[in-house]
Subunit: 246 residues, 2 copies
DNA sequence: CAACATCATGCAACATCCTGCAAGAATATG
DNA sequence: CATATTCTTGCAGGATGTTGCATGATGTTG
């Protein structure tokens, strides 16, 4: 348990859960000096997971609600690439998350298409774009601001779509696509299983990461759209996954 | 949890939600001296988030909020009046519409309550306020950005709540409460029928209006909260409706 | 006006941060 | 197998940030 990677995994998990971590307390818990923990946190800060403050670190990925408002240029290129797959008349599953939200905001009017999503923010963006929208209800998860629960999953299972666009918490060569929240994982899986093609949208930092809960094995994924360089997607292309670089 | 930045984040969040904070109480809560909290608030005052006053600090209305305040100042007073009916542990039905949205944004954290709503914007506001939220899904109506349809109505009918807060398109002495969209009318009616008390929130211009579709007769309404002057609500009070003026 | 609470300032004690460095462990290389 | 390299860790130091307290000033209340 005293390997750097193990410590950093624990820290990453807590931070992504929205917890703030305290330096002195962590040093005690891990049985290492505060310097070591400080270095761990600085590393996570480089990766954009933590925000180092005096005495510890705070999560940078605060509830998806706040990230939403900012809007990120990184995601726009991914969204633009995904748009080329969409035609009017299709039924689209749209997951939650900031990358998929960027896609929803970039949608052109599609009067004959139907967007189906468990994410309220995505639903509003689709409606504003001029796409008929069906919002799948349920309990709202605090982490991702997405509807989850049995009702959500079962409602999704009763639908069928041409394309499913999934946000990604982690995508790893052997572990496949994974999510931080178990309930959100079930929702993602239901969308993947009920759609003709499943497309993952993800920014570079998520590649090679394993989030806590497995959603899909890699072979059930039809396409990956990312802004990562080709070298980072090599493990996936060699396994037969189609990758598009934004 | 005693890092300076963490404290300031908490304070910032409360102030941005319109709460006023009290010095002595905060010192107790954080386990630090009042001097420290005073310094925190002074820092936030430099950043334009707080306005220090004797004994604590008050939220400062920022330009973005002020713009909203021009159109919505009246909604805020209605929301404040509605808040007095709400207690932690209740189940609340929240309709769509800007008045109800203002109420959702004004909610304090209610960890044991449950907010149930067919409106995605309201759901996000409740979640951000720290209230567990259930979003009732369905087709998104283009008019009001509210979920409508048979699934929505039937899901609402299977629930029960203590209070239902309904937005109003029209409220007239004989015609009762009415809505512009037929589908939205069914949703409003379902919420009214499944809740203990039904409360209409409405600004002055809606009084005396008949919208296209009837939702409820006046007698099925338990309370009206409005910013209209007493003279405008005379026809309703004489019919036995309880009216509160914001 | 008197009693009291709150505020601003300065200060000393303390905690934390950064940098550099050396010892140990793991891995690579000849 | 021996040696070199890299990585990780803990520690020492000086710099900087933070905290609580004391002091006098200012505001509030009866």
């Amino acid at each position: 348990m005293n390997l750097p990677d193990a410590r950093q995994d624990v820290l990453r998990a807590r931070l992504e859960r929205g917890q703030t971590v305290e330096l002195a307390f962590l040093a005690e818990e891990f049985g290492v000096s505060v310097d070591t923990v400080r270095r761990d946190l600085k590393l996570l800060e480089m990766q954009g997971v933590a925000r180092c403050v005096r005495g510890g670190a705070m999560p940078v990925a605060r509830p998806a609600l706040q990230r939403m408002a900012e809007g990120d240029a990184r995601y726009e290129s991914i969204a633009a690439c995904a748009l080329s797959l969409i035609e009017d008349g299709m039924v689209l599953f749209l997951d939650g998350g900031s990358t998929v939200l960027a896609l929803a905001q970039a949608l052109p009017p599609l009067p004959n298409a139907l967007a189906v999503t468990p994410a309220p923010a995505v639903a509003l963006a689709c409606l504003a774009a001029g796409v008929p929208t069906h919002l799948v209800g349920g309990r709202l998860s605090a982490l991702g601001a997405v509807c989850v629960g049995h009702g959500t999953v079962s409602a999704l299972s009763d639908l069928t779509a041409d394309l499913a666009f999934l946000g990604v918490c982690g995508l790893e060569e052997t572990f496949g696509l994974s999510a931080d929240d178990p309930d959100e994982a079930f929702v993602k899986r239901a969308m993947a299983q009920a759609s003709g093609r499943t497309i993952a949208l993800t920014s570079a930092p998520k590649l090679g990461r394993k989030a806590r809960h497995r959603v899909l094995p890699l072979k059930d994924l039809d396409m990956l759209i990312t802004d990562a360089p080709p070298r980072a997607t090599r493990p996936f292309t060699t396994k037969g996954l189609e990758v598009r670089h934004a």
